[in-house]
């Protein structure tokens, strides 16, 4: 069986929840979406979804809620949002177009996330390894035509502590005034949400960086690093990819 076919079959399994620890949606976004489109087309072809009407009371209720959000959208601005060191939740779809109401929702999430932030300072890696019994590890690999190839290292993640550590060898030293590295955590929610886990710089050939997401991660599946503008981003388009690591993958 060819690697490509094998990968596609694994994607089908992942789509139906028959494979865990996979992060195909992030690693191979377009290919994974082609599986999603095929499943959606099958659904429409085999069900009566296209012939169904939404009940009028539901239509009114949902439309009112949508219009309300649309009205709020015009009242919100996103430009003033500080990004540095603030944990973020970003929906995948918002990488293409973030609306004001999404920003409003993000503000609420940030408020919650800020409250949830642990006040303890970061441990060293050995301290972290000694502190938690449920640490899982995953190794970095090149991420789908990466901007920097050949970067290696390990991710250490404790689901109970909701924090982790990551090491890198071969990451380019960055100028923080020009660009920074950002870690994204993909959990069981897959495409629907990804969580910013760290914004960091590289100042040497080998570095270790604490992972401290500001909101709860539900069964972490994968970790991915991108290069972003200084201060990080809410809405990474994931175009400047570096490495990815899948737990159990």
């Amino acid at each position: 069986m060819s690697d490509a076919l094998n990968r596609l079959e694994q994607m089908v399994d992942a789509y139906f929840g028959e494979a865990s620890g996979m992060a195909f949606d992030v690693a191979h976004g377009d290919e994974f979406e082609s599986i999603e489109l095929a499943a959606a087309a099958c659904d429409l072809a085999m069900s009566d979804a296209l012939a169904t009407q939404m009940p009028s009371d539901v239509r009114s209720k949902v439309l009112d809620a949508m219009l309300d959000l649309e009205a709020r959208r015009s009242e919100e601005t996103t430009d003033a949002l500080p990004m540095s060191s603030v944990p973020t939740v970003v929906t995948t779809r918002s990488r293409f177009a973030i609306s004001g109401w999404v920003a409003a929702a993000a503000l609420l999430l940030i408020g919650t996330a800020t409250i949830m932030l642990r006040n303890t300072g970061p441990m060293t890696l050995p301290e972290f390894q000694n502190a938690y019994a449920d640490i899982e590890t995953a190794t970095w690999s090149d991420w789908d035509n990466p901007e920097l190839a050949g970067v290696t290292g390990t991710v250490y993640w404790s689901e109970s502590a909701q924090k982790g550590y990551m090491t890198f060898t071969g990451l380019d030293v960055n100028d923080p005034k020009v660009e920074q590295y950002q870690l994204w955590i993909i959990d069981e929610r897959g495409l629907s949400q990804r969580i910013s886990g760290a914004l960091f710089n590289c100042d040497g050939s080998q570095i270790s960086v604490p992972i401290e997401p500001g909101i709860e991660v539900h069964d972490a599946a994968a970790f991915a690093v991108t290069i972003e503008a200084p201060g990080g981003t809410w809405v990474s388009d994931m175009s400047r990819r570096v490495v990815i690591a899948s737990l159990g993958g």
Partner: protein, 174 residues
């Protein structure tokens, strides 16, 4: 052919949201009621899906799929996310495609092609695909319901879905 509603939504045209609801509210409602346990949850899910469609409208590419397929993809993605989040089991009722639904398939080139591809599948393979996608059964549940080995169920689903994907790709819609 329907006007491109998603373009109107993406550009923020007045009335676009109502048009989206009129065109695809039923589709979203159908999927939501199939995945959700009760009407209240289906209402929440429908709103969540339509917000996602709104947010994703700029990404729509007519060369990859029809609008209906794109909306259904977003809907299924959101519903699967919800379902996995609460880790519940779904008991679905069998749904037979209505004549009206089949007639409307001809409006969308990709759906017509997919329908044709599904018709070409051996009946048992078609049934397994339907149980998985429409009835939302797990592979284990399908194996139990049909008495077929789990490995057979898995490979039939993989083969069927990839055939459909290939048909969409070759036809220039995926």
């Amino acid at each position: 052919m329907k006007p491109c509603i998603l373009e109107q939504v993406a550009s923020g045209e007045e009335g676009a949201m109502a048009a989206l609801m009129d065109a695809y509210g039923g589709l979203v409602w159908s999927l939501a009621t199939r995945f959700c346990r009760d009407r209240s949850e289906a209402e929440d899910a429908s709103q969540d899906i339509l917000l996602s469609v709104w947010e994703s409208a700029k990404r729509y590419d007519a060369d990859k799929a029809s609008e209906a397929t794109f909306v259904a993809m977003i809907a299924r993605r959101r519903l699967i996310d919800r379902q996995r989040r609460v880790r519940r089991e779904i008991a679905s009722e069998t749904i037979e495609a209505s004549v009206e639904a089949k007639d409307r398939l001809s409006d969308s080139e990709d759906l017509a092609r997919v329908s044709e591809e599904i018709e070409k599948l051996p009946p048992e393979q078609r049934e397994v695909l339907r149980l998985s996608i429409v009835e939302n059964l797990t592979h284990d549940e399908i194996a139990e319901a049909t008495g077929r080995p789990l490995g057979t169920v898995k490979s039939q689903i993989r083969r069927s879905l990839l055939k459909v994907r290939d048909a969409m790709t070759k036809g220039g819609v995926a």
